[in-house]
Symmetry: C2
Subunit: 211 residues, 2 copies
Amino acid sequence: MSVSLGETADLRLKASHGLAISLRRGERLRIENLFGTQVVDTWLLAGDDPFEHSSMDHTRSVNSNIFLEKEMVVASSLRRPMARLVEDTSPGRHDTLLCPCNAAIYRELRCEGYHRSCTDNFHEALGAVGITLPFTPASLNLFMNVPVAADGSVERVAPASRPGDAVVLQAEMDVTVVLSACPQDVTPINGTERTPRDIGLAIRPARGAPL
Amino acid sequence: MSVSLGETADLRLKASHGLAISLRRGERLRIENLFGTQVVDTWLLAGDDPFEHSSMDHTRSVNSNIFLEKEMVVASSLRRPMARLVEDTSPGRHDTLLCPCNAAIYRELRCEGYHRSCTDNFHEALGAVGITLPFTPASLNLFMNVPVAADGSVERVAPASRPGDAVVLQAEMDVTVVLSACPQDVTPINGTERTPRDIGLAIRPARGAPL
């Protein structure tokens, strides 16, 4: 599914599925964690060149931080600001470190048959808007709770967000945003109930209607 | 410059330049920090498919750690082990977080004219062995000293390694290793003298000659 430029509709991102949304510079996307427990893997591609993609290694370098917090930017593979986190009612510290879930992880977790994944959702959502990429950029993992210890080790724990917590990303250039409501239902990364949930979305113009 | 499979030559990686080296599974590459101060940006590509590349987000996920330490693996974009850090005489904790240096960084640092970069070295070294990739994977930054504070902020400080410290990567599949002796001479990431240096290399077969 794709969403046209400039719409103001409120949308749902279906549990375990992906979606590509076009935003013009200045437009804002509100991503609401309806149940508080759902991780949203997020990517941005430049509107005029999908090979310029959100890059977590550049984002950490630009922000000099391993988390994404309010007022920080998501930087592109060319070190340009693609979006800014302008609002965040969650406890924050969204993960930039871990890969999107993928077929190999579900095989390791002994899932039988096909299991949806954020990696597949990324390519499926892009395919729906006619974009093919031969690689999967690292994802920005909104609401994902990955504490880092002093020895560098990481944990994967349930989101600290509450139902209704939301972030707002403001486009700093024309972009395609790709979202995946993470299908992970084996580990507690999407909450101890291990149940993928829908996410609420709202697109608002650059100026005018309040979010 | 490329190096053929199975050679045992001792080599130099020239300061500020890149190099692609083919290794067969089991072969080992020793990377010696001759002066102690030099960062080496490192990538691996699968020997039979350069689109399967070393992935720092998968590597952190597989190791559950943000640093690369002895006995940890470098994982591919398909979550396969590409190489293992089998020896490390340095203080360790090699950086997996920050992007390879690139043209945009040197513009920010007000360098005039062309400045060599690890990103350009990656593509230049691959071009020399007939490989073109339309993107730049995140790099493994050997010897790079990037402490992470509890608030997630990162620092960029001089390497803690000493002259002669070395790491040994053992290929876990047939791979092309791409190395860049980082050309950064503005910040102290390559030491407070801000002078890029040569790196010593040695390739050894899977069994037999000691490193």
